[in-house]
């Protein structure tokens, strides 16, 4: 069974971009457009991996991460920051906060899923689609 991935992203175009890429590569996704909704999804649907934007309305990515980490059963779920904060020091800041990975925007669609897959347990990886690029 491929990993189920929760994508928390407030920008609809960017949410669709990531959702489409994951879907095409065989990963079922759950989506949320706010931190609040993302946490609700996390607690009710138990995704295997979370991709989280950092700038989100009301509760930002850092708050979402710290709420996830408090969960007694699933606090160690892999959470990857996917963010347009990509100035020097932003990666270190995300890592220091406890994100397992950091992918700066704009993402590279040719390698994005591989970057994410590196965090997925081998038995939960999807088979690759046919692509001539």
């Amino acid at each position: 069974m491929p990993a189920r991935i929760l994508v928390i992203e407030d920008n609809p175009s960017n949410l669709e971009l990531v959702r489409y890429l994951l879907d095409v590569h065989g990963y079922p996704t759950l989506t949320a457009t706010s931190g609040e909704e993302g946490l609700h999804q996390f607690h009710s649907a138990h995704p295997d991996l979370v991709l989280c934007d950092l700038r989100l309305p009301i509760r930002d990515g850092y708050e979402v991460l710290s709420e996830i980490r408090k969960d007694p059963a699933r606090g160690n779920t892999i959470v990857i920051a996917v963010t347009a904060f990509s100035m020097p020091g932003d990666r270190a800041k995300a890592t220091a906060a406890g994100f397992d990975g950091y992918v700066p925007k704009p993402i590279d669609p040719t390698s994005f899923v591989q970057q994410i897959e590196a965090f997925v347990r081998p038995d939960m990886r999807a088979s690759r689609p046919d692509s001539d690029s």
């Binding site: 175009s13 960017n14 095409v24 347009a84 704009p106 669609p109 690029s133």
Partner: protein, 374 residues
């Protein structure tokens, strides 16, 4: 009392009146025996009014009690105290208003009597300046923070839509949604190249803004400059070879230690070598690393030599200005942001160095980064 007054008046009036600061003299029991005109003006009294009065009259009421004790202790062990004692002292004018003062004290023996001479300076204006300066500093720090926040937000806001543009264009070019006609493929590649160009522009602009705002963190350490340049050359070699160009590094002296910032130095050399590859169609790009004496010290010179188009003398002067691209009229001119050389020169300056240029139009160019050895 009357005697004290006369004694001081006769001996010192002239010299004390000529002093620019306020002078108040008191006798052993703390009574004023002399006030010069300056001090009179400072406190709003006619000097004559004050003679014979306790000196505490010139202090705000809340300090008077303590002052009597301090004054008698001072008389027991008098020693000079300078104006800038660091104490927060206040005087009180005849109209009751308070003002900050600095007071220097010295004992003065005249015949059998010991007097204390106090030099008093109104520092109200200086205090106001200090406060203003402090406020200005806080304001500057706030502005600086606002600028940081602005840069971070701008970077974030510009990247967010670019993510969708570059991302979906890439998806279409990967043919994930379906096949493309040759025209669609070509046009989407134009969208992709433009998107990436815009991204490069944003990155370079932010770099320029950061350098301009002094926000570049430099970490100076000693390292082998030759090794760093070998690494840069290795990363750019595929690009050079894809154009049929040879890319070489020559360091006649072998290892050359510099004390500099690795990241900034790499960025400069990558920029210069990238340009050399971009603007050379035939021949080679050679990077030289050498050390030579200059003004009693040594400088390290990193030269990037190409056999490319070269730069006209008229264009050479404006080359390092932001957004300058000298081949704009040539439709086949390689893509660029016009910020690379500007940024490189600024970074070189931060490293204590400079970039110079020698070029012959049509024959090639040599950009030389000159760095202090230590």
């Amino acid at each position: 009392m009357q005697n004290d007054n006369e004694l001081i008046e006769s001996r010192f009036r002239e010299v004390l009146e000529s002093m620019p600061d306020g002078i108040v003299m008191v006798n052993q029991i703390g009574h004023i025996v002399f006030v010069n005109a300056q001090a009179g003006k400072l406190f709003g009294y006619d000097p004559k009014e004050l003679c014979g009065k306790p000196v505490e009259l010139l202090l705000p009421a809340k300090f008077r009690g303590a002052h009597i004790g301090q004054r008698s202790r001072y008389h027991g062990q008098p020693r000079p105290r300078a104006l800038d004692s660091g104490l927060d002292l206040f005087g009180q004018r005849k109209d009751g208003s308070e003002f900050p003062v600095e007071i220097a004290l010295s004992p003065l023996q005249v015949e059998d009597a010991v007097f204390v001479i106090s030099v008093i300076r109104d520092i109200g204006e200086r205090k106001r300046f200090e406060k203003e300066l402090q406020e200005k500093n806080t304001e500057l720090a706030n502005l600086n923070q606002a600028k940081d926040r602005f840069l971070a937000s701008m970077s974030h806001e510009l990247r967010t839509p670019l993510n969708a543009i570059i991302g979906f264009t890439g998806i279409l070019l990967m043919k994930l949604p379906g096949p493309l006609t040759p025209d669609q493929d070509k046009q989407l590649r134009t969208v992709q190249a433009s998107g990436k160009h815009l991204l490069a522009l944003i990155d370079d602009l932010l770099d320029v803004a950061r350098v301009g705002a002094g926000k570049v963190d430099l970490h100076f350490e000693s390292f082998d400059c030759k090794a760093l340049i070998d690494d840069v050359a290795a990363s750019l070699r595929p690009q050079a070879e894809s154009k049929g160009l040879e890319l070489s590094v020559d360091a006649p002296g072998g290892e050359i230690t510099v004390r500099s910032d690795r990241r900034a130095l790499s960025q400069i050399v990558i920029n210069l070598a990238n340009n050399a590859i971009k603007f050379t169609e035939r021949g080679r790009v050679r990077i030289t690393v050498d050390k030579r004496p200059a003004e009693g010290k040594h400088v390290v010179e990193v030269g990037v030599h190409d056999t490319g188009v070269g730069i006209k003398p008229a264009d050479q002067a404006k080359l390092f200005k932001a957004f300058t691209r000298v081949n704009m009229t040539n439709p086949k001119a390689p893509e660029g942001t016009g910020l690379g050389l500007h940024l490189s020169q600024k970074l070189a300056e931060l490293l204590g160095g400079a970039i110079t240029l020698k070029s012959e139009y049509g024959r090639g160019s040599t950009f030389t980064l000159i760095l202090p050895e230590r």
